[in-house]
Symmetry: C2
């Protein structure tokens, strides 16, 4: 199959059910996709790369690679309490892995797209010596309602969804429903994609506050070390005023406190950010 044939295949696979793509005026097949916004909405944009040998290993199942490539970006949409609308998928793959790999990759990606209400609206295909992909997702939220990292206040209580320490390469489940429940309640929210210690440091920097962590919900089989610094959790990290009750499945891990912006304490000791940094000197 050549590039035109692949694009035709994707067009058929990506066709949403009737009435299932609100706002989408034009999808795959032209120079651009076209979206007609509703008057009351704000649009959110995020993009995440998935690179062979960096984010996944060559032996990973292609359908899981596709699923996780979309899930990483959906997790950012969840972190802002938004609903996904559509995605653009850029994929480069070795010609010898060919259409079989590409078909399985999109099967995994499109299954999650359908479940989450995300339309595949376009993208780019190229050949390369390794698998690279980059998935852009556009989400929607009512005006002024998106959750940010920057609103945490001293005195807020600090929570995470789920349990931490997920093993590398696991299937990522973006917390879309959880994020929507937090909209209008949480003072700050972000997803855990580089490890609690680094991501909490970032949230505190953006909010101009410090944090004191007392306990962490460690998942079965994981170490505390991995729960504090591992980078594959894709759970939500968020803050609520003490009066607000958290959604089901949340664990309170500590408090937002006054102090130097970005400083994180764990059980009374300073916790250096050691999560995943692509450009740290190793």
């Amino acid at each position: 199959m050549n590039e035109l044939g692949l694009v035709d295949m994707l067009r058929r696979l990506a066709r949403p059910g009737k009435g299932k793509a609100p706002g989408m005026v034009l999808g795959i097949g032209d120079d651009c996709a076209i979206y007609r916004p509703r008057p009351s909405e704000e649009l959110l944009f995020t993009t995440d790369q998935s690179i062979e040998g960096v984010h996944f290993l060559p032996e990973q199942r292609p359908a899981v690679i596709g699923h996780n490539a979309l899930a990483r970006s959906l997790s950012d949409i969840a972190a802002m309490g938004a609903e996904p609308r559509f995605c653009l998928v850029s994929l480069a793959a070795p010609a010898e892995r060919g259409e079989k790999f590409i078909a399985a990759f999109y099967r995994g990606l499109l299954a999650l797209a359908r479940r989450s209400g995300t339309v595949l609206a376009g993208g780019d295909l190229a050949h390369s010596d390794r698998i690279y992909c980059d998935v852009m997702v556009c989400g929607s939220a009512p005006r002024g309602k998106a959750l940010r990292r920057s609103g945490a206040q001293p005195g807020d209580w600090l929570y995470v969804s789920g349990r931490l320490g997920k093993p590398w390469g696991a299937r990522i489940q973006p917390r879309l429903a959880f994020g929507r429940v937090l909209r209008g309640r949480a003072t700050a929210c972000m997803d855990l994609s580089d490890g609690l210690s680094l991501d909490l440091h970032r949230l505190c920097l953006e909010s101009g506050v410090a944090a004191a962590v007392e306990r962490v919900p460690v998942m079965r089989g994981a170490t505390l070390e991995r729960a504090l610094h591992g980078g594959e959790d894709y759970e939500l990290l968020f803050t609520l005023p003490p009066a607000k009750s958290p959604p089901r499945g949340a664990t309170r891990i500590g408090n937002i406190v006054k102090g130097e912006a970005g400083v994180v304490w764990f059980q009374g000791q300073p916790l250096a950010p050691r999560g995943y940094d692509h450009f740290a000197r190793r």
Copy 2:
């Protein structure tokens, strides 16, 4: 410099001038960027990959790599007669090329972004063994006014902007002003990114028509072969009803005709699509 440091540097570099980012509510630094659409606008989305060894060579100047990475996507925005609003830039680079490469790449990209009114609103950074980037651009057009590939009619005259046959690796100049002039005039438009023979085939397929090409404006130093099948022109290919005069700098190359959808004739002979196909068997 680590990843946080790089993101800080990009935030400073990307800050648009006062009043220069209409609609942009939140840029680099959170999980998503936020855009507030105006009531009358439709948004256009495109993404294009630039991969070392595929789209450019390692010895190419980093600033030109950055310029061209954005220019490829802006060319798609131009082809639909839209105005660029913002971009998301995903970049993966070997750690050893480091911050020097990254800074020069963004210098080239941001110079073009400023000139074209495109805000850098976010993206993703990762390390990898080759340079890979993917640039998503969001553009804006008045409702229902974006140019498509699918409106060419038998009897329309066929044009290109500029001259064809540009050498591989040259600096790409997206035809944004030209595209905006075509809005409301052209029946179909697309950019030439994979060569005239393949791209015209695609335009004809989408419009359900055939085309007869009589002449092609070949640039100085290029061959007719390259002008017909080369993939680096990034000029606009468009159709006008015979009564409409083309913008300055356009050359009429032939006509849209009745016939099997997608068939292209050159001086009376069928012209097989031989432009750049990433998944053609080579």
